[in-house]
């Protein structure tokens, strides 16, 4: 018989999972919130989405061409980076700023480190940080002027809108920070902005929140996306659950409203879609637990005691930097790392070589 036998090392079968499929799962998980964001914010959101994704793809392409490496756009990781970045940007951001953000994400955040799997920081958040420090004004006043505020005409929406307008167009969480100062009014409103006291502000945050980044239009859709990712085993539940859980617990400790802290701002999108980024989070489950606890603590500190409303972004970037350390010292529980059973020969004789 003609011999065409292939010889290679075991194993000879592989799970039907690929980088591309994983990335597309995340994109699918983000689609509802993306579409809904366009519904709420209208055309301005579309421009931010297109520019950010285009920037990310372009950045990847240019760097890989320039370094004469195989172009890896088909693994869909750059697409995901661009989409994630867009969802963390304010809807009123000019398209060219989003484009710069996308370029920064894949060039500075990813390819400069050597491409997929090598970057230290979450590329989408690097892109966002670049935009944030370069054009900070849009992150204070870029939210409330969105096209679709008209649709939100309920009492609770009005309450948030008032609070947001008091703080001249910030997101609810930023508004809270600007309006409510815990050091001067410790017995005040238990942690929510003045205009929101007593009203059911959870509903707009869950279902339709026009005062935030693109991806913050509905906490519910983000949570559903997270459930989808856990169910498809793309992400481990530990990071989002422990991260959000630790923020909630710490918020309760200082006597503030934990649900508001959870639903407003970037905590959910950060915990579900940013902190779980493979490359920039620890490899082992034990490490993931430590990482998520660190994220919760740093976010809580930044939200409570810094002058900056961007607790989640900087918490994730900060913890990203600690991942190599965590990976070195927080190892999986190893089999066989046990003391010898009592009553047998002295230890040391068991282990040959």
């Amino acid at each position: 018989m003609e011999n065409n036998l292939i010889v290679s090392a075991s194993p000879h079968i592989r799970a039907s999972v690929s980088t591309r499929r994983i990335m597309l799962h995340v994109v699918v998980a983000l689609l509802p919130v993306t579409v809904y964001s366009v519904v709420i914010h209208g055309l301005s959101a579309v421009w931010v989405l297109i520019a950010s994704i285009a920037g990310a793809l372009l950045g990847e392409l240019v760097m890989e061409k320039g370094r004469r490496l195989p172009v890896t756009l088909d693994d869909c990781s750059a697409l995901l980076t661009g989409l994630l970045l867009a969802l963390t940007l304010p809807p009123m951001l000019p398209w060219w700023i989003a484009l710069v953000g996308g370029l920064a994400a894949t060039i500075l955040g990813k390819q400069m480190f050597g491409g997929i799997g090598h970057n230290l920081f979450n590329p989408a958040l690097v892109g966002r940080a670049v935009v944030f420090v370069s054009w900070p004004g849009y992150f204070v006043a870029g939210y409330a002027k969105s096209a679709a505020i008209g649709i939100a005409n309920t009492a609770s929406h009005k309450a948030i809108q008032t609070a947001v307008e008091v703080a001249s167009g910030a997101s609810p969480l930023a508004a809270m920070k600007l309006v409510y100062d815990p050091t001067t009014s410790p017995t005040g409103l238990r942690g929510v902005p003045q205009g929101l006291a007593g009203s059911s502000y959870y509903r707009p945050l869950l279902f339709a929140n026009p005062w935030g980044c693109l991806g913050e239009v509905s906490a519910l859709l983000l949570i559903l996306g997270g459930i989808y990712l856990v169910a498809t085993r793309v992400i481990d539940w530990r990071i989002p659950v422990i991260y959000v859980g630790s923020v909630v617990v710490l918020t309760i400790v200082i006597g503030r409203d934990p649900l508001f802290y959870m639903l407003a701002g970037g905590l959910l999108i950060g915990a579900i879609f940013m902190a779980t980024d493979y490359t920039t989070s620890p490899l082992a489950r034990n490490g993931k637990v430590v990482y998520a606890l660190g994220l919760g603590l740093v976010t809580w500190l930044l939200r409570g005691w810094s002058n900056n409303p961007e607790g989640v972004m900087f918490a994730i970037l900060f913890m990203n930097a600690l991942v190599p350390l965590i990976d070195r010292y927080i190892l999986p529980s190893r089999y066989g790392k046990v003391k010898e059973k009592k009553g047998e020969k002295e230890a040391g004789e068991v282990v040959p070589g």
Partner: protein, 466 residues
């Protein structure tokens, strides 16, 4: 289990590949005739290879001793056919390389060696005599690793054995030989377990079977009648049948790194091995044939065959109707740990649990290159030993020997879970294997260099630099 232990001390690893066992699970074991010539390599097991005790022209019968060794970790080899030795020469071996083999032309009559006799009932024998009998029968572990059984049955006295685990997990996809044995001959399997328990002085015996084989669990439970023996159902999960994983699952004991099951009071034997022991005590015929699952989507009639040792893979496949298309890959063993063959002219040896043929399309060919990793952590989650396969592979690739040792590369038993789970098709096992081999090579080199230095500078003069 508290929440903290759940978070931090999880069940380690494992993957769930499709089982593909329905191809052969309902196929009763049938006897296969040996081809006109059988090739019996003198390396059939872990340990010292045998030296031929026959030469060209010798007449042999079924069960005639053809190879033996003085070494303790070794087992004699017997002819599987009656006929004449036509050659003693190196031949292709399914574990790689060429190995000295005895080639016998069969007369097709299978006349048994007249000197053989049914041994004394094992119940009347001392453990020492059982060890001897098992060795003389040429029995080695039939699960695939092929460690000489008599060595395992004779642990040092410092390590009392309290439990014998009979491994019927058969967690490799495609393979059904142990399953069929448990279904068709549960009494013999049980008998073998009793012999092993007596040989090691263990009061307790566990037949461990994965819960995707309810029929086997039923059939084994039907014949166990107390006496310290229980049938235990395991969660289906690859590599549930690996010794260390098995011991952890059943007894919650961890074999120390670098140690053996006997260090935690356990002996693990494969179901097929127990069956072979029982058969020897009832017939006196040494191990000259074994059950082999010949399977794969391109095998015309996938089967469980009782195959004489030395039958070529080609002949075994022919006994199953041959292939429907030229195979892309042929393995000895299952798809997770099996060895890819470059020719079908290799013989079935004692450790051949299966012959698996994959079509060219099914063959996941891995293009060699730089190890790509997206740090998804799937390999870490999949590793039953709690290692970090992606780092081991990367360090092996980048020749960071100290780091390999720091991350306990020697604990890897190459089950393949990491590479199976990897979305980037990183050749993790291949790299880790290379790293282990190179580490061992460097160690021997350093030792021999140290010995050379010691020899070159004898006495107390060695300390003087001038």
């Amino acid at each position: 289990m508290s929440i903290a232990t759940r978070l931090f001390d999880r069940v380690r690893g494992g993957v769930h590949p499709p089982t593909y066992k329905d191809l052969t699970a309902t196929e009763p074991i049938r006897e296969a005739q040996a081809p006109s010539t059988v090739v019996i390599p003198m390396r059939q097991h872990v340990g010292a290879p045998c030296t031929p005790v026959v030469k060209k022209g010798s007449e042999v019968r079924v069960g005639t001793l053809i190879g033996d060794s003085e070494a303790y970790v070794s087992a004699p080899i017997h002819s599987s056919v009656s006929g004449k030795v036509i050659q003693v020469a190196p031949q292709a071996h399914p574990a790689g390389g060429d190995v000295l083999a005895v080639i016998i032309e069969s007369d097709g009559e299978y006349r048994p060696e007249p000197a053989l006799s049914v041994p004394e009932p094992w119940e009347n024998l001392e453990p020492r005599e059982i060890h001897r009998a098992v060795r003389d029968a040429g029995i080695v572990g039939l699960g695939g690793a092929a460690f000489p059984t008599h060595v395992k049955l004779n642990p040092p006295h410092d390590y009392p054995i309290d439990t014998v685990i009979l491994n019927g997990a058969e967690c490799e996809p495609f393979l059904t030989s142990d399953y069929r044995l448990m279904l068709e001959q549960p009494e013999a399997v049980l008998e073998g377990l009793l012999v092993i328990m007596k040989a090691v002085g263990a009061p307790r015996g566990i037949v461990a079977i994965e819960d995707n084989k309810p029929q086997a669990i039923k059939s084994m439970s039907a014949v166990t009648r107390g006496g310290g023996i229980e049938v235990s159902s395991l969660k289906t999960r690859y590599p549930q049948g690996a010794e260390k994983v098995l011991i952890d699952s059943l007894l919650k004991r961890e074999v120390p790194s670098g140690g053996l099951p006997m260090h935690v009071g356990v002996v693990v034997q494969n179901v097929g091995t127990a069956h072979a022991i029982a058969r020897y005590f009832s017939t006196g015929m040494p191990l000259v044939k074994r059950v082999v699952t010949v399977t794969g989507s391109i095998v015309r009639e996938p089967s469980n065959l009782m195959v004489p040792i030395g039958t070529s893979f080609a002949a075994a496949a022919e006994a199953c109707g041959g292939f429907t298309e030229p195979p892309g890959k042929v393995l000895m063993g299952g798809p997770m740990m099996g060895l890819a063959q470059y020719t079908l002219e290799v013989p079935v040896i004692k450790g051949t649990s299966g012959i698996l043929a994959l079509s060219l399309k099914e063959t996941a060919y891995i293009v060699p290159g730089e190890p790509v990793c997206i740090r998804c952590g799937r390999c870490v989650d999949a590793c039953p030993m709690g290692l970090i396969p992606t780092y081991l592979a990367a360090y092996a690739y980048n020749e960071k020997w100290d780091s390999l040792q720091r991350l306990n590369i020697q604990d890897c038993f190459e089950c393949g879970c990491c590479a199976y789970a990897c979305p980037t098709r990183n050749p993790l096992v291949q790299l880790i294997k290379t790293g282990k081999v190179e580490l061992a090579r460097r160690k021997t080199r350093m030792e021999s260099r140290a010995a050379e230095l010691a020899a070159a500078a004898p006495g107390e003069e060695g300390g003087n630099g001038e």
